[in-house]
């Protein structure tokens, strides 16, 4: 269900509104010459003054009078519709725009404005053609964004999820850092995920898929005990299922209970028996062995992981820090260099690199890396302070951190 908020702010409409008004004025003046010129002129002036002073109600009254005095001028209706639209009176704007289009079907952008009003009134099917037209042939970028958000919401409400997703994807491409766009896109995808889950639970209520999804949802929310129960149900139904022992092991690890590490390691071992290509399981075993001080075993597991997946950043870091502990800094160096090529902003890599340089007696390089580490860490901390915690996310593997080592 997406009963979300209006996907735009009326303040965004200023360019759109101004554009229509500018287009309409000269035409209106021509009409004015044909009927009661002085009276009409007075209302026009009143309307313009009111608009300039942002007195929308007064401007609307003036245009209402104009539509009565001169009922054949489409532009008067269009202008009145626009004012009602800006006022948020969509129900009143709809017949006004319709009248304008009836009198002059080609009046620019009026069909798009009408579509937005219809969408605001929940008449999504009626709104679709106009919104589509506006989205593909927008007056400007701000208008396109606005119409795109309306269109995404319309498709969502019509449960035409595929089309909604297409629009969302386009919006994300066009406005990648726009909070409004990101908010609505996130919401749309969340709603579809839920709808899909509902359908899955109806189609196959006791399937491994329902239990796996439930486990993942619990895990993402930090409810690891509940996640373990669900994953165990999957194991009971299909013990040889690739990936499930890995997830179970991860959930056990995430409980942050050192006593449970062995139990987790057993799950990762089982995973590797089922699927020897699961680099995540190899990595996690490495991490458990490293933390337990079984450095040779850790080294072997990390080495397997990086051999099978050469761009596995955390595995390179894990291997490097294990090699450092084994007094093999020279061997650790290339792994940290790879990790930094993959991600130059990882504070952990810089910290480990500083340890390598220290062990190799390269004091200048060590200082430089420590500086970089401190800078990145400070940056990260200030970002964390100023922002709200990130939403729920399912982590792939245990991330490398420096917390236990930095004095």
């Amino acid at each position: 269900m997406n009963l979300g908020n209006k996907p735009y702010d009326l303040r965004c409409l200023a360019p759109f509104g101004a554009w229509v008004i500018l287009c309409l004025l000269p035409l209106a003046s021509v009409r004015a010459q044909q009927a009661g010129r002085e009276t009409l002129q007075r209302y026009y002036e009143e309307a313009q003054t009111a608009l300039a002073e942002k007195r929308l109600a007064a401007a609307a009254r003036a245009y209402e009078a104009l539509t009565q005095l001169d009922p054949t001028t489409a532009e008067n209706y269009a202008q009145l519709g626009l004012i009602r639209y800006i006022q948020g009176s969509f129900a009143e704007a709809v017949p006004t725009f319709r009248k304008a289009l009836e009198l002059k079907p080609g009046l620019p952008q009026v069909d798009v404005l009408l579509a937005i009003c219809l969408s605001e009134l929940g008449r999504y099917a009626e709104a679709e053609p106009g919104l589509l037209k506006g989205f593909h042939h927008p007056a400007d970028a701000a208008t396109r964004r606005l119409i795109g958000l309306e269109l995404e919401r319309s498709y969502s409400r019509l449960k035409q999820w595929d089309k909604a997703v297409q629009i969302a994807s386009k919006l994300t491409q066009l406005y990648p850092d726009d909070p409004e766009v990101l908010y609505h896109v996130g919401r749309l995808h969340g709603d579809i995920a839920y709808q899909t889950m509902l359908r899955l639970s109806q189609a196959a209520p006791d399937s491994i898929w329902v239990h796996q999804a439930a486990g993942e949802a619990h895990e993402a929310q930090g409810h690891y005990e509940l996640a373990i129960v669900e994953y165990q149900k999957v194991v009971a139904l299909d013990p040889g299922r690739p990936g499930i022992h890995f997830r179970l092991g991860r959930a056990i690890c995430l409980r942050d209970d050192p006593a449970a590490r062995e139990e987790a390691a057993r799950e990762f071992e089982k995973e590797l028996q089922i699927d020897a290509t699961n680099v995540g399981a190899a990595y996690e075993i490495g991490e458990i062995r490293r933390k337990d001080g079984q450095l040779e075993k850790a080294r072997d597991s990390f080495a397997t992981a990086v051999q099978r997946q050469p761009d596995f950043e955390d595995a390179h870091i894990g291997l490097a820090r294990t090699l450092i502990e084994l007094n093999e800094p020279q061997k650790a160096l290339p792994h940290l260099e790879i990790a930094l090529r993959l991600n130059g902003q990882n504070e952990v890599s810089h910290y480990q690199l500083s340890r390598v340089y220290k062990a190799l007696g390269k004091t200048t390089e060590q200082q430089k890396e420590l500086e970089l580490f401190r800078h990145l860490r400070e940056q990260k901390r200030s970002h964390e302070k100023s922002s709200i915690a990130a939403p729920f996310n399912l982590e792939d593997v245990t991330r490398q951190s420096v917390d236990s080592e930095v004095p």
């Binding site: 979300g4 908020n5 008449r123 909070p179 896109v185 996130g186 995808h189 899955l200 949802a217």
Partner: protein, 401 residues
């Protein structure tokens, strides 16, 4: 055993045994042909019994006797694939294709094997070719799943989504396909929100998201704090007063809370006079205050503003049933079921309306439908809260009592 029946019994990767008899005919010597046939029969039996190591030995023996048999290579590749020995499988599939380029199944399996080995660049064109191939295509689902993984890994979510949509069309009720859709959209939702955290870490929208997440966890006091923060950042942001009101009602339903919530819904309507949800919420407050006539006005206005507003239609039905106007209720409840056939409350209320009208059979049917839907949704329970936010007070069967 016919190939189709065999596929049902073994694994979809199993492919070409029947063709081997034809390949045997190519052998120069009759005795070798007999030997090949014997190995083939052993291999088939081993496959039937899922003794894949034995099957591999038999196929390897066939290849030794007849290295030019593309089918034997392909079948050995299939066995390795089943055993998750992907590099070996790929080597056999490649040999098969080189010998006989028309072996499309071997080509499909090669793509799958490469993908599972992590050789994405090599896998991608093969998988794309298989996925779009017309006609019988037993690997399409599995290939589609792999493509989604590859597209996701290569940060091309649009392609992943398109593939997922094609899979949904082809297999609308397949649990694995549904699960994969759930995962994709769940991850995309997480990514969009994570991007929002980075793009605008202190924006009104982010406080709104935080409020919604807390709301869905049932942490209403903290949700209220977040909504207040959002309003501080942007007092004109539409939807926040309404969300605040709903959170207040969820936190407590005493008179003071209802009064505060009522104020918020009115503030929302001041910003957006056509906000059907706020009208509906005002209706809910009057309903709780035992003022059905006032509630009816707001519910009606909500439906007037938004024709397809299921919960408002259900609320109207609720009031009319209460007022003894079951025939009028029936109309709106039927409309609600038409809009949202999976809404359990709609079926429950419709059953009530039918019962009041003396239509026992129809009432029973609706009750049965309600029970089926309730059973399914019960298993979801609180689990998926993080993706399911509730921007309004939803109608429940209890609220109709």
């Amino acid at each position: 055993m016919k190939p189709n029946a065999r596929r049902r019994h073994i694994i979809s990767a199993w492919l070409l045994i029947s063709d081997l008899l034809g390949a045997g005919g190519l052998l120069a010597q009759a005795d070798r042909s007999t030997e090949v046939k014997a190995h083939y029969e052993q291999a088939a039996e081993a496959m039937r019994l899922h003794r894949f190591d034995d099957a591999a030995v038999e196929f390897a023996a066939m290849i030794q006797l007849d290295p030019g048999s593309a089918e034997a290579h392909a079948n050995l590749g299939a066995v390795y694939y089943i055993q998750r020995k992907y590099p070996q499988a790929s080597a056999e599939f490649e040999a098969a294709i080189e010998l006989k380029p028309s072996l499309v199944k071997a080509e499909s399996l090669l793509g799958m094997s490469e993908a599972r080995s992590g050789n994405f660049e090599k896998a991608l064109p093969l998988l794309e070719k298989t996925f779009t191939r017309e006609g019988e295509n037993e690997f399409r689902q599995e290939v589609g799943m792999l493509l989604i993984e590859l597209y996701t890994a290569s940060l091309t979510p649009d392609k992943a989504i398109r593939t997922q949509q094609a899979l949904r069309q082809a297999y609308p009720s397949n649990p694995e396909v549904l699960y994969s859709a759930y995962r994709i959209y769940s991850d995309l939702a997480g990514k969009a929100l994570s991007d929002l955290v980075h793009a605008a870490p202190n924006s009104a929208r982010l406080h709104q998201v935080a409020g919604e997440l807390l709301d869905s966890e049932g942490n209403f006091p903290r949700a209220i704090d977040q909504y207040h923060e959002a309003l501080e950042k942007d007092p004109e942001l539409t939807g926040i007063h309404r969300a605040l009101g709903v959170a207040m009602l969820n936190a407590s339903q005493d008179d003071a809370s209802m009064l505060r919530a009522q104020k918020e819904f009115k503030l929302e309507l001041a910003i957006d006079p056509d906000d059907a949800h706020s009208e509906y919420e005002l209706g809910e407050i009057y309903w709780r205050k035992h003022q059905p006539e006032e509630a009816l006005k707001h519910y009606s206005r909500a439906v007037q503003l938004r024709r397809n507003f299921t919960d408002a239609l259900l609320a109207l039905g609720k009031v009319w049933v209460f007022q003894g106007q079951a025939d009028q209720a029936l109309q709106v409840l039927q409309e609600a079921v038409k809009i949202d056939p999976n809404n359990e409350v709609a079926h429950y209320r419709l059953a009530q309306a039918y019962r009041k009208l003396g239509q026992a059979a129809e009432s029973e049917l609706e009750l049965a439908q309600f029970r089926r839907l309730r059973e399914a949704s019960a298993s979801l329970g609180m689990i998926y809260q993080q993706v399911q936010r509730k921007p309004i007070t939803e109608q429940t069967i209890e609220s109709g009592q």
